[in-house]
């Protein structure tokens, strides 16, 4: 059983000579929209996607890109220029998929027109010799006259949703032509147009969407309102103005986490007080996999950790309290962080800040300090919390204006000696409520901890469009893979019996796509027309 070409091309007459530029353009277009080119482009797309999984990507994990620069100082700048750290936004990746989609458009639009035309044409007349078709049922006799046989066959075929045409012939015979399986091409086109919809949706989502990350510490006075300045990190689409961001404020009122005995988390629950558009505050809870959905924004819980509350009393008795989030470094929530006090030790008489008397504390927080003195936490909940800090005094280097990490001290300042470690080499251990008096008589108190949650806040206006496109595409894909276009013809001729009555009929079938089950379907169909007549 073979597939047969749809339109046997008639011998073309030599075309008139055309403008060479036009000919070049036309040939390039034909080349671009050919299946071979599409295949090559598809393959290129797959290959071009690989570097994005090999090299760290800036939009996914900027810290690892920085790390990569440190480890490979020679290679990294070259890769960077080639777009290796943002592959999916690079010009060459865009070139491939834009060419692919151009090729797709150039292929599917003509096919759409062809298909619309095919949908309106009636099945063609039966070929002269049905016996030559891949499927054939030999001649058989029936007592009814040809017109009745033809109409009953047509009825059977129509019941089976074949497009059916009955034609009377000059020799007194009748033919029934039937065709089925247009859904295959419809599905195929649907799939490709759905892909275009998805691409357009992704593009517009990128233009009109925005997202930001924020670390939110629990506490009424540590709320967050949705504006660019309050995010730790944010990205607005090219068509989004900072003033377009929806108006809402969040306050983390509670965060609970539960763990298995081996420390693997069981559940998280963040509770926030939400104020939208200046309305009254409402309490809402959300968790991993179940984000807080607001109007035109969704708040996702990405992570959590502890923020020690530290009070520093300086030489003049002035006190400052800071709640400093420490970032978890492992699953047991061993956390690293730094508390910086740049505006301390200011002489109340002169009211001048001595830059060499700024203070910073760096170290780790262990929610459960192990009894064996290991430097990592033994359990993620606070069973026996402990803070191990090293104190530094000098110029913290915060005034230079270079944005540095707020989770580590400036290494340059320490190396240059501007910032000196004080009070012993070993980190000092603090339990909640304990205090630590430094060599100059100043004091640090560890008052306790607050919980914090890391939140991703996002808005993507075209998400429903992309999802719809993907679902419709899948539907089209299944239709195009499962469907088979096929034609079946019946010919009913007046019987050769002496009284001139009766009908001699035969049938032939032609699968127009690769369809191994066609023979069975054809035989079954012929049998059922025999029953129905």
């Amino acid at each position: 059983v073979t597939a047969v070409k749809e339109h046997p091309t008639p011998a073309a007459t030599p075309p008139p000579r055309t403008n060479p530029v036009w000919a070049l353009l036309r040939n390039s277009w034909r080349q671009l929209t050919s299946m071979r080119t599409a295949l090559v482009l598809l393959f290129l797309l797959a290959v071009a996607a690989i570097p994005g999984s090999v090299f760290p990507q800036r939009p996914v994990n900027p810290e690892r890109v920085t790390q990569y620069f440190a480890v490979h100082p020679k290679l990294a700048p070259v890769l960077d220029r080639l777009g290796g750290f943002d592959v999916y936004a690079s010009a060459w990746f865009a070139a491939i998929y834009l060419l692919l989609f151009t090729s797709l458009v150039g292929c599917v639009f003509p096919r759409l027109l062809d298909h619309l035309r095919a949908l309106r044409t009636v099945p063609p007349e039966a070929p002269r010799r049905l016996a030559r078709l891949p499927a054939h049922a030999p001649e058989q006799c029936r007592p009814e006259d040809p017109a009745a046989v033809a109409s009953s066959i047509a009825a059977t075929l129509r019941r089976r949703r074949f497009r059916t045409v009955v034609r009377e012939q000059v020799d007194g015979g009748w033919t029934v032509a039937a065709e089925k399986g247009f859904l295959k091409e419809s599905g195929n086109l649907l799939f490709h147009f759905a892909l275009l919809t998805v691409l357009i949706g992704v593009g517009f989502g990128h233009w009109y969407g925005w997202h930001g990350n924020r670390l939110l510490v629990a506490g009424a006075d540590r709320g967050f309102c949705n504006s660019v300045t309050q995010y730790d990190e944010s990205t607005l689409g090219p068509r989004v103005d900072p003033s377009d961001l929806p108006d809402f404020c969040l306050n983390l009122t509670d965060f609970t986490a539960s763990y298995q005995t081996n420390g693997i988390p069981k559940s998280f629950l963040a509770t926030v007080a939400v104020t939208e558009n200046g309305g009254p505050a409402k309490s809402r809870s959300f968790t991993v996999n179940d984000p807080l959905r607001l109007h035109h924004a969704a708040v996702h819980l990405l992570g959590h950790g502890y923020a020690p509350i530290l009070r520093y009393t300086d030489r003049y008795g002035q006190q400052q309290t800071k709640v400093v989030p420490f970032l978890p470094t492992d699953t047991m929530l061993t956390s690293e962080g730094v508390a910086q006090f740049p505006d301390v030790n200011i002489d109340p008489k002169t009211n001048k800040r001595d830059e060499n008397l700024q203070v910073g504390f760096e170290g780790v927080f262990l929610p459960t300090a192990a009894t064996d003195g290991s430097p990592t936490s033994a359990y993620p909940a606070q069973r026996s919390p402990a803070l191990f800090l090293t104190a530094y005094r000098g110029d913290l280097g915060l005034d230079v204006g270079i944005p540095g990490s707020i989770y580590a001290l400036d290494r340059g300042q320490i190396a240059s000696g501007e910032l000196k470690q004080v009070d012993g080499v070993r980190p000092h251990e603090l339990k909640p409520g304990q205090s630590w008096t430094l060599d100059d008589g100043t004091k640090l108190e560890f008052l306790g901890t607050e919980q914090f949650a890391t939140l991703a806040i996002r808005y993507d206006p075209t998400q429903p469009l992309v999802l719809g496109g993907a679902v419709v595409g899948l539907l089209g894909l299944m239709l195009s893979l499962a469907g088979h276009r096929r034609r079946i013809w019946f010919r009913a001729l007046p019987g050769s019996e002496p009284d001139g009555g009766g009908t001699l009929w035969e049938a032939g079938g032609l699968p127009r796509t690769d369809y191994p089950g066609f023979g069975d379907e054809f035989n079954q169909l012929v049998e059922s027309t025999k029953r129905d007549v």
């Binding site: 393959f43 996607a49 990507q57 081996n262 996702h300 999802l467 089950g517």
Partner: protein
Amino acid sequence: MANLSNHLMAITVLAYLAAMICYAAEYAFGNRSHIGRAASRPARQLVGAGAPVDAEVPPPDDVVVERPRRDLGKIAGWTAVGLNAAGLLVHLGTLVTRGIAADRMPWGNMYEFILSVTFVGSVAWLVVLSRKPSIRHLGLFVTLVLVMLLGAAGLIAYTPVGPLVPALNSYWFIIHVSTIILASGIFLLGAVPASMFLIKTGYDQGKRRFPYTLGKRVPAAAVLERLTFRLHAFAFPLFTFGALIAGPLWAEASWGRYWGWDPKEVWAFISWVVYACYLHARATPSVKRTTATWIALIGFATMLMNLFGVNLFFSGLHSYANAGGMG
């Protein structure tokens, strides 16, 4: 229960290994002529067990099944199928006990994932075999792949039983992972007729070097090629749903974006594009069937890369599938 699961896992591998040896025995001692005849016979759809029997369909006339001759190869072949089926039951037992031990669906890490994928591959193989007994000779290669993957799962990826982290605690876990397991299992099975088709084509062209000599007793090239296509055409929409619809839906709820080029996502995208390439190449008359089948095998390589490579080499958001017990 967890220990029982581990013992059953060992028995599964042994059963598949025994089945493989029997398939190999049939392959080596089988009567060439009747297999050759069965292989070259045009494949006829057999009515699967439990399917309504249609009186119009001619009765199956498969020589391998109905010939009363009892030769060594045939006995080995049917023993192999029996062992294969027994292995499948123990395999199911491994998964069920693992699920009971962990009190959840047994798809939470790389070890369990491979266990499930190979289970689907094994089920799909026996289903295809029941419909087309003439392809029984592929059993050697199917069990070879099963034993290798299960061996790798046990040696590289074994993880002690544990509950799910909250990030996996979602109904999308079942939808996303189950469809991907199904699709991967069928793609995995599809790679067997694909490679045998290439070997058989080479053999038919007169090549007699090592891999082509395997093509001596496998079914006809056209049968293998069609089987390859049908398995891939079945798995592709499943994979599309699991990886490109259910996955992004879950990612949106969990991480806030439906697509973020995480290494797992990148490789799922690559596999999808390569398999799409295969389907296009096969539908294009000007592309040779061997070329198209090579593309299917490249697709399979990308699936393996996603299953093993991404978990072992790259870190990403999907890293709960970690090899070993790193959590």
